[in-house]
Structures are given as C-alpha cells and as structure tokens.
C-alpha cells in the first residue's frame, strides 16, 4: 500500500535536490537549510525525536542568519514571450491538471484495490492525489515545453528561493500549536476571558463569543484550536446553558467568526505570510492588509446573524 510516507520521501528528494543546487552555487546557508529540511522529510519517521528537534533548531538558526535571497536569473522576457506565443493557451493545461487529478484521485484512490488490498492509503487520498497531480502536471509541462529533465528542479529551486524560510513556517506553527495544547495555554486564556468579562445579557454573550473566537484565533493562528476552548468556556455554559440558544447556529457562525480572525493573523502563515512570499510582495503583511476590512465587517455581520437567530427557538 502506498501511503503518506512515500509522498514524504518524494518531497524529501525534491528538497534534497534544491539543497544540492544551492551547494553548487556555494550558497552554504541555503544548502544547509534545505538539506536539514530534506532529512526531516525523508527519515523523520525513524529519527529519534530529540534529533528531529535539533534539526528544527538548526532551521531556525539558519533562517535567522539569512538564506540566499538572490535567485538565479530567469530566461529573459523576450524568450518567455516567444515561448508563450508558440505554446499558446495549452500552457494552462498542465496547471489545471493538478487540481483536476487531485479531485479525481480523491474519489478514485480509496476504491482502488490490488489483490484485495488497498493500493493507496484511503485515509490519505487527498494528499496522495495532490502528489500524483503534481507529477502528472509536471510530465505534461515537460512534454509540451520540450524541457530537459534538470530544468524543473532548477525552476523549482528558483521559486523556493523566492519563498525562503516562509515555506517551513506553517509546519513550525502547527508544532507550536501542539506544544500550546500540551502546556494548556488555551485553557488559561479562556479562563482569563470568562473571569473578567461580564456576560449578563444574551446579546453581550454572543458578542463576547464571536469576538472571542476571532481574537483567540488571531493568537493561536487556527480557528480549530479556538473553537473547543471558546465553546467550552462561553458557548456551552452561557449561550446554551444560561440563555437557551441554538447550538447549531452558535457553532456554525462561531466557527466562521474564527475564520475572520484567521484572515488577519501572521500566525496563520499558510494563508497570509506564505502567499506574501510566494507573490514576492515587499510587505510581509500585505495579504493581511488586503483582508483586514473584509474580516472586520464580516465579524460584525456574523455577530448580528447570531444575535438575531440564535435565541429564536
């Protein structure tokens, strides 16, 4: 059965190649950074946890010292334009094949059996399909553009140089979330909120719950972490217990209030910091800036929706 481990090895090999290309250019800090990351991807399951932890510390240290920020030159404008003209709109096919194959795979892979055994881990169908989609897209693009085998790796390295340490940040933040949970950070924050905020009015309780979901998500970077804490602290005892609100409306709209927090926090690196790096913005918080007003207005709207409907039974 092909599972996630195979996908990790594939990603690990890719990062190992990026590291080798950096070493070739004598960018030693970047070569070490992607090398450490490649090792974690390749053999993380077999490394002692302490060794993995030391590698993560090394990643942080190397990121602090500074990675290679001068990506190798891309082919000039004229070459790209003539290529774009000759290949035409077919260029979009490999790009669109990635989501297409991912979708198909998500439905098909869990059903695929060889000799009565699952060919792919059915629980990880989406991630495995994404990897297959990336490979299919790559093969199509290489065929269309008559690319040499080494070109995609060089181009991928150009992109990872532009993204830099931000590529590793979401994983580090998810780990921080795990340590927060183990240390009971959420419970401490919730108890502070519950003890210090008066909630004698039903509408006030709604406002505290929705804005609490948003603020807690800003602090933790993840509405999924905020939901159990805020709901156990305020939602269940006050909105449902004391004022007999509707649990469906409260939870559904409460979760979406948390998503408003996700739009404005650098802690949600995957959605906010990584795209700023991917799109090569000068301002690391540029995406957050673009989203802030929508997030605020939508949080107010969510509070209004909940206030209007949650107590109507």
């Amino acid at each position: 059965m092909i599972g996630l481990e195979a996908v990790y090895v594939l990603a690990g090999l890719m990062f190992l190649a990026f590291s080798a290309l950096q070493a070739q250019d004598r960018s030693w800090s970047s070569a070490s950074f992607w090398g450490c990351f490649a090792v974690l991807m390749l053999v993380g399951s077999w490394l002692p946890h302490l060794a993995s932890g030391i590698l993560v510390l090394l990643l942080a240290l190397l990121a602090m010292l500074g990675l290679n920020t001068k990506p190798p030159a891309v082919p000039d404008d004229a070459a790209r334009r003539s290529s774009a003209a000759s290949v035409g709109n077919r260029l979009f096919i490999p790009a669109l094949s990635i989501p297409f194959v991912t979708l198909i795979g998500t439905f098909l892979l869990p059903a695929l059996k060889v000799g009565g055994v699952y060919a792919f881990d059915p629980k990880q169908a989406t991630l495995i399909s994404l990897a297959i989609g990336a490979i299919v897209g790559l093969l199509l693009a290489m065929w269309m553009l008559h690319s040499r085998p080494s070109t995609p790796l060089a181009e991928g390295r150009r992109l990872i140089d532009a993204i830099g340490w931000a590529a590793v940040l979401p994983q580090a933040l998810a780990s921080l979330g795990g340590i927060f949970a183990a240390a009971g950070v959420g419970k401490v924050v919730a108890s502070l909120a519950v003890e210090h905020i008066p909630m004698s009015e039903p509408i006030a309780a709604v406002a505290v719950y929705t804005s609490g979901m948003a603020l807690f998500t800003v602090a933790m970077g993840n509405a999924f972490a905020a939901f159990p804490v805020m709901t156990a602290g305020i939602g269940l005892p006050i909105i449902i217990g004391k004022f007999h609100g509707d649990p469906v409306i409260m939870s559904a709209v409460g979760m979406l209030s948390g998503f408003c927090g996700t739009l404005v926090t650098p802690m949600a690196a995957n959605f906010n910091i990584v795209p700023a790096a991917v799109l090569e913005l000068q301002d690391r918080n540029g995406v957050i800036r673009a989203q802030a007003l929508t997030a605020l207005l939508l949080l107010l709207a969510n509070t209004a929706v909940m206030a209007l409907f949650v107590y109507r039974r």
Partner: protein
C-alpha cells in the same frame, strides 16, 4: 499563567520584525520550559510535532511544474489572455475568481485553487494584466493587486467550504458537541454557513469594486 509566555514572545517577535521562524521556535521552547518540561524534553517534543506535521509540506511538490510553466511564459500568456477580454478589470477578474472558488469549495472542491498553483501563475497575472491595459503599474500598485489576488483565494475557500457537509471544521463541531451531549447533524451546520457565505461575497465584491475605482483613478506611472 507562565505558559502564556509563548504568546508574548510571538506577539513581540512579529511586532519587532524578528525572523518569524526563529520567533516561533523560541516561543515553542519557552512554552514547554514554562510548563515544567526540561530542555531536551522540549526539543524532542518540538521535533516530534514537526515530523507529525510533515503533511503540510506536501503542497510544495507543485513547485517544479509551476516553475517550469513560468519559464514557458504562463504568466505572460495570462496577461495576454485578459487583454483580449473586453471590459475585464482587476476587480471583475477577482470577483469572478471569488465566485468560482466559493462555489467550488461549497461542493467540497477545495483543491481548485491555492496560492502556488493558481494565484501566482494564473490569477495574479490576470488581475495585473487587466490593470496594465490602462498603463504600466508601479511596484506598490502591483503588490496591492497581488495581495488582493491572494486574499480572494483565502476568502473564497474559508467562506465556501463550510457549506460542504464533510469538511474538517463541520466534523470538528459535530464531534465536540457530541462530547458535550448535544447531537447535531452536518447538514444543519452546513445550512447555517450559508448566510455568512452570502454576506462575505457581498462585502468582498463591494470592496473589489472600490479597488477598481481606485485603480481607474490612478495617474499612469
């Protein structure tokens, strides 16, 4: 109380523009120490958590194909494509993508999108190209259009996916309420994601139309 030091470090680190990766790792170590775990124990905890979260890095597998397509001129092609569309503006391009992204997510098709595979090679060049039809863009305006392209990808998926019954957040809510003795069904929860989805589309569409007005008023760079 002491365990809150991690949040303090993160806030201070981000505010003072320290390297975010180093900040986050420092916060993790400090939180573990504050919770009474010894240093090697915390480092091991960090290593274990990092390895367990490797699934996040799988998305980077698209880098080689996207890089190759960029070399083949996909962004230039997207720009040329939008120039051929009559009446295309940055705001309208992004509103269209917002609608597609939200509807697809509501059907459970969250894979249709993403910053690396969709926004960088296709959506942002379309949005930039529509503005470039009126003259070249300065760096600030270009960055602003790109930031809005990324924002639309996020907002579309966030406020569309909860309408789909099998998405992670719906299952989390159901599981959590069940533990507290309250039984709800995913379709009920999904239904109550619709008002917010509609309002999100309305608010953000209005903002994108304002963006168009700002862009059309700008003096050519």
């Amino acid at each position: 109380m002491l365990v809150l030091i991690g949040i303090a470090i993160v806030v201070a680190g981000f505010a003072m523009r320290f390297n975010p990766l180093a900040t986050v790792v420092a916060a993790a170590i400090a939180t573990g120490l504050a919770a009474g775990i010894d240093f090697p124990g915390v480092v091991a905890m960090l290593g274990k958590a990092f390895v367990e979260n490797r699934f996040i890095a799988v998305a980077w597998l698209v880098l080689p194909v996207i890089g190759l397509l960029e070399r083949g001129g996909i962004r230039e092609r997207a720009r040329a494509l939008v120039l051929g569309l009559k009446g295309a503006t940055t705001g309208r391009v992004l509103i269209a993508y917002l609608l597609v992204r939200q509807l697809a997510a509501a059907l459970g098709l969250t894979a249709l999108g993403g910053h690396v595979q969709m926004v960088r090679p296709v959506v942002a060049p379309l949005a930039e190209g529509a503005a470039e039809a009126r003259g070249p863009l300065d760096r600030e305006t270009r960055d602003n259009i790109r930031a809005h392209s990324a924002a639309v990808d996020n907002i579309g998926v966030f406020f569309g996916e909860d309408i789909f019954v099998a998405v992670g957040s719906i299952l989390l809510i159901k599981g959590f309420l069940e533990q507290s003795g309250i039984n709800v069904t995913p379709p009920q929860l999904a239904l109550w994601a619709i008002p917010t989805a509609v309002i999100a589309f309305a608010i953000h569409t209005a903002r994108l139309l304002f963006l168009d007005r700002r862009l059309s008023r700008r003096t050519p760079a």
